[in-house]
Symmetry: C2
Subunit: 306 residues, 2 copies
């Protein structure tokens, strides 16, 4: 495994590994339950950069403290290792206020708490809806060093169109979710690669404020999310998402920065298309502008004060 780890590093990639806190992994292989300290030490020896710990075959009551214990052993190795915790997905946090989010965010760098993503638009849409429905709980618990993980990015696989690939990548960036590709990099098509390497989208995701976007204008067919940034001269990112598969054609929204809660009398703002990096408009807060969005599509803009 150490050889494999070095090979992965030689490709400019990070080396992640999957463990399970329980007596067995979900696939039935041996789990870490009785070997937390040994497994943490082995991760460091192998040069692992990222540990995802699942929670199959474990009692939900002991998970929070058990994961904390594993984090303690990871830290004791002195190797910087990202710790991804899956135990919230096993807890009934949507129905009862039992999950200690403070403890979670102290022990884990990211966590899975919604359904596993599958390679289909139905699945991506379902996760977006679940996040939206639970955003009052999830937004405040996310911040630098501890993130809501909406699961892997599918772009470059089989089930998403280019528009759907943009929606997932853009919204994960808006929600400040980890951008982890689950794809065969060797066969990725250029148009998908271009989407997943969109520099402005990545900057929005990686903004040092670490704030997730908030839903504004939830009542139109088009949903608009807004994220405050430190970058882009303390600007904002806006995502306009249109999830109507039945329309068959793009839709247009005429709005203004004022409408979207961005103010500044006499100030000018530059609008940048986050997927192309191109400046599309210079405007004031009150001037109307039009946004044209594909069905199952997204328009993502950065608003930069001038």
């Amino acid at each position: 495994m150490k050889w494999l780890s070095e090979f992965v590093h030689s490709l400019g990639l990070k080396f992640g590994i999957y463990l399970d806190f329980g007596t067995k992994t979900c696939g039935g292989y041996p789990g870490s339950m009785e070997f937390l300290q040994l497994d943490a030490k082995t991760m460091a020896e192998w040069g692992v950069d990222y540990v995802k710990m699942d929670a199959c075959y474990s009692d939900t009551k002991i998970q929070a403290n058990g994961f904390a214990e594993f984090e303690h052993y990871l830290n004791a190795t002195n190797r910087p290792i990202v710790f991804a915790c899956s135990y919230p997905a096993y807890q009934a946090w949507r129905d009862e206020p039992g999950l200690n989010w403070t403890q979670l965010s102290e022990n884990c760098n990211l966590w899975r708490m919604l359904d596993d993503v599958q390679d289909s638009w139905v699945s991506v849409r379902s996760i977006m809806k679940q996040y939206e429905a639970n955003r009052k709980t999830l937004m405040p618990v996310s911040g630098p060093g501890h993130w809501n993980d909406l699961d892997m990015l599918l772009g470059g696989n089989f089930g998403l169109s280019l528009d759907e690939t943009r929606v997932q990548f853009g919204m994960w960036a808006m929600h400040a979710a980890p951008l982890i590709l689950s794809v065969d990099l060797a066969v990725m098509r250029p148009d998908v690669k271009k989407i997943l390497q969109a520099e402005v989208v990545i900057r929005v995701n990686q903004d040092k404020l670490g704030l997730p976007s908030d839903l504004i204008m939830p009542d139109l067919g088009i949903k608009v999310w807004r994220k405050k940034l430190a970058d882009f001269n303390q600007g904002w990112a806006l995502a306009f998402v249109y999830l109507n598969d039945e329309a068959g054609h793009p839709t247009a929204l005429v709005t203004s920065l004022n409408d979207l809660g961005i103010h500044g009398k006499d100030a000018a703002f530059k609008l940048i298309d986050a997927f192309t990096g191109e400046e599309v408009l210079t405007t004031t807060a009150s001037d109307p502008f039009e946004v044209r969005i594909n069905p199952s599509g997204i328009v993502m803009l950065v608003v930069q004060p001038l």
Copy 2:
């Protein structure tokens, strides 16, 4: 409209128009009910090549004879006009044996009888499932000059991945369904264009025998359809479809032509990938070969006797 018709023809395209047999169209515009003869004459004068007649705002009991009357008027113009009939979609043909398929196929060149397609994989899959469930009724009524219309092709729009685009195009070709693009030709991406211009797929669709494919091997996760051809030295087309969105990876099937009901002791067969046009293998009826299919994907082969 005559000017528009000539402009469309100058682009190398056919000019189709939408009418409704009822008192109004589904969108509420004036229908043809009282103007069948006049409308047929006008279509010919305008240089229309294709009339799609819908059936909103009309009594289901008078539709079959009413569409027959319109066909009579179209034929009386002496202009060759393809007549697409939507009235089967308004009849309860799945539940009761009331629809006269013989009359339908004498009067109409194609007909819609399943749900309207929308720009999503969910919709395409649903139509494929409906066709499959009703194939014992639908296969025999299709033949040269009178076809089951599974609705428009979506490739080049927003909601289908490349694999899903291939599935729709390939299966429509296998089912001997009309291949009518519903897309903005001016902005079609090269990879989509390549799929929709796959010459072998189109030849399979246009084969002069006009036979729809039949489902063989319905009990595997992979569905295999087989279509008898006159073309390709009286060969066959085979489609292997894998509709598992949750697998996340391609699957492989090891089979032989014998397994697929294609026999011929000592004979050799050439296998051609219908989407690339490339010869992939020369084999005998009994030799096993492997087919590797993407999730939400298709492999379409032509089997040509040598």
